[in-house]
């Protein structure tokens, strides 16, 4: 028994009263290990990610100096990679909070080991995604104008309101259930950590002792947030779709865009969650808690959403395609047989159909099958975001030749930097905070045990 565990057994956190059983003890040591032990692989990964982020920052500094002229966006195709990535990242932010809230509200027990990671992804993806409109802004020096002169009627202001509300809500929703775990870190690792770290955890655990009053406040707060976060999350991606749908443009001018975006967001969010879970399971040896069951269930959800997305796409294609009003013909030709056909078919087949089939067929519905599906979905959904932004803007609204757009190195670099920043933040988060919700898993272990006892 290590020093840390001995301290734990005496700690007030251990309120289950029953002697800390083997499984619970193992859980705690496994989850807390990354907080104190850092491997070389981790260091290298973080270093590489950090280098890429720096490269992206350099590219942005070039853009700041010279203006958006360093991108390939011009008067006709006014948005490009940045806005596509904005939508993509805000999309994957739905992984987390929304999924974990829905599962919490519905008391799905298998979700307990997932929630923390899902909530991490939300906060990180939201922070990275929210940077993109700023990067896309030609006058970031005037960003304060949005507050000074902001108009309630503008979809961009709605975006800012929705995203800031969601980010605040997500932070609360991430933090509130983490307090008992932070208290445990404070209590158990106080001997093996630097004083600075101890102070950090002491501050964050805000004197959690697991008293009944604290329990009451905590469960009340979690209960409120789990319900509140669902409409907020839905509103966020609906509002994100509004920067497109509020425009009189073929391909964007659609009433189904809000729910289409929400569907896509949850879809890509699930896929990202699966991938992050797989990586962290491998890196932190969490196989005992993140079992294939979790992957399978998330796989089921992914498959369901593949179906939902196929349905939405059918709607989005059939309704205007049947009428072929105005420039729809141009857009359809561009998507199916023209410039964007390779990307569009990749999205439809590899991003929607194949993942759906992988989940549908029992033979391929394995851990690795689900991982492949999740990778395909992420690629497909990124393509979808790109295909919503660029080909639509390419449709000429006046009698002129269609413009072209091929992103420059600056745009690609900033995008690479953002993806690296996403991974980096996840890696750092996973190093500082327990990646599993220890107290919830423990509670579950205890209740399972008591069930067994009753049965006996």
């Amino acid at each position: 028994m290590s020093e840390a565990t001995r301290k734990y057994s005496q700690s007030s956190f251990d309120r289950s009263a029953t002697p800390a059983d083997e499984a619970g003890e193992r859980l705690i040591t496994t989850v807390l290990r990354p907080l104190t032990h850092t491997g070389n692989t981790y260091r290298i990964v973080v270093l590489v990610l950090f280098a890429i982020v720096c490269w992206g920052a350099y590219a942005y500094s070039v853009q700041l100096r010279k203006g958006l002229v360093v991108t390939d966006m011009r008067d006709h195709i006014v948005w490009g990679l940045y806005i596509a990535n904005f939508v993509f990242f805000i999309g994957i932010s739905h992984a987390g909070t929304l999924i974990s809230a829905i599962l919490r509200v519905t008391h799905a027990e298998w979700r307990t080991p997932i929630t923390r990671m899902a909530e991490f992804i939300t906060v990180v993806a939201l922070s990275v995604g929210a940077l993109f409109p700023l990067i896309d802004l030609a006058r970031p020096d005037r960003v304060a104008n949005i507050i000074i002169y902001g108009r309630w009627q503008s979809p961009i202001v709605w975006d800012i309101l929705a995203i800031s509300t969601y980010l605040t809500g997500s932070l609360i929703y991430l933090y509130l259930p983490m307090i008992p775990d932070l208290a445990m870190v404070r209590d158990r690792l106080s001997t093996s950590m630097s004083p600075l770290k101890i102070r950090f955890y002491r501050l964050l655990s805000i004197g959690w002792r697991g008293t009944s009053a604290q329990e009451r406040y905590s469960s009340k707060g979690i209960g409120i947030m789990a319900v509140l976060i669902i409409p907020i999350a839905i509103s966020v991606h609906t509002v994100v779709s509004f920067i497109f749908a509020m425009n009189l443009r073929t391909g964007w001018d659609s009433t189904v865009f809000g729910i289409y975006f929400v569907g896509g967001a949850i879809f890509s969010g699930l896929a990202t969650l699966i991938l992050v879970m797989a990586v962290l399971r491998r890196a932190f040896h969490l196989g005992e808690y993140l079992t294939d069951k979790q992957f399978l269930y998330l796989g089921y959800m992914l498959g369901t959403f593949a179906g939902i997305m196929i349905y939405f796409n059918a709607l989005e294609l059939l309704v205007p395609g049947f009428k072929m009003e105005g420039s729809e013909l141009f857009l359809f030709r561009q998507r199916f047989i023209g410039e964007y056909a390779p990307l569009y078919w990749t999205y439809l087949v590899a991003g929607l159909m194949i993942p759906g089939l992988i989940i549908l067929i029992p033979r391929t519905r394995t851990f690795w099958g689900i991982i492949v599906a999740a990778i395909l979905v992420n690629i497909g959904m990124w393509l979808e975001r790109f295909l919503i932004v660029v080909p639509t803007l390419r449709v000429p609204l006046m009698a002129h030749e269609p413009a072209s757009y091929s992103p420059t190195w600056v745009e690609w670099s900033i995008m690479a930097g953002a993806f690296a920043a996403f991974c980096l933040l996840i890696a750092v988060f996973a190093k500082i905070f327990p990646v599993l919700s220890i107290w919830e898993i423990k509670e579950q272990l205890v209740s399972e045990q008591s069930n067994i006892v009753e049965e006996v």
């Binding site: 008067d75 948005w79 030609a138 006058r139 005037r142 949005i146 503008s154 800012i160 009189l248 443009r249």
Partner: protein
């Protein structure tokens, strides 16, 4: 504004680039690459074409002002849609929103004649152009106040462009004056893409330049030039 397409031949009959665009560029110090009033050649479905000079449509239900997050583009009490480039944050949502593609962006440092850079900035003239902001045709409100018609109107050698005021119900092509509402009705003028519901205040009298001797099969629009083109 009323544009009589019966009188517009895109200036090809004169062997010139479209003079409305050209005079606008010169008078307004328009940055290189922008054509605030731009002449498009529209094909008839079964052959032949007509020219359509497109300024800002000054929509009443203007999509651009509706979406602007900071009110940098706004409608004046007179009904003009203008842009305050000192407030614009460069998000370009208005450009995505404009169904007439009448908005232009200073992606880098705007190339304008060096003389224009020393002007005192004014919302009504948009001179000098500012990097990272949106620009467009403004109907020259500063000139109208002085009793002068916009550059495109006076520059049109065919007198096809009429500048008017729906409040006073008058319009002029810089040669004669007409009662605007009567001119619109008698020439069955329509706004462009009126079914979009943007309620534009630019009206077109259908035609293909027949009144100035162009047949629908004559093509060959010339390119305009910008004095700032040589500047880096």
């Amino acid at each position: 504004m009323v544009i009589n397409l019966r009188r517009c031949d895109g200036c090809i009959g004169l062997g010139l680039p479209p003079q409305c665009t050209q005079s606008c560029i010169l008078g307004h110090h328009v940055p290189v690459g922008m054509e605030w009033i731009q002449v498009y050649e529209y094909e008839f479905e079964h052959g032949g074409s007509y020219f359509l000079p497109a300024p800002c449509m000054m929509c009443e239900n203007s999509p651009c002002t509706n979406v602007c997050p900071v009110g940098a583009t706004f409608t004046t009490p007179e009904g003009l849609v203008l842009i305050d480039q000192k407030r614009c944050i460069g998000c370009r949502l208005c450009m995505a929103a404009c169904p007439y593609q009448r908005r232009f962006f200073n992606w880098g440092n705007p190339k304008i004649p060096s003389a224009a850079t020393s002007y005192q900035y004014s919302v009504e003239s948009q001179v000098p152009a500012i990097k990272g902001t949106v620009m467009k045709c403004d109907f020259c409100p500063d000139m109208a106040r002085e009793g002068v018609v916009p550059f495109c109107i006076s520059g049109c050698p065919r007198k096809a462009l009429w500048y008017g005021d729906l409040e006073e119900d008058l319009a002029t092509n810089s040669e004669e004056v007409v009662k605007l509402s009567r001119y619109l009705a008698r020439n069955h003028a329509h706004p462009f893409k009126e079914d979009l519901g943007t309620q534009p205040r630019v009206f077109y009298v259908p035609g293909h330049g027949q009144d100035v001797g162009r047949n629908p099969y004559q093509s060959g629009l010339r390119k305009v030039t910008w004095p700032g083109e040589s500047r880096e």
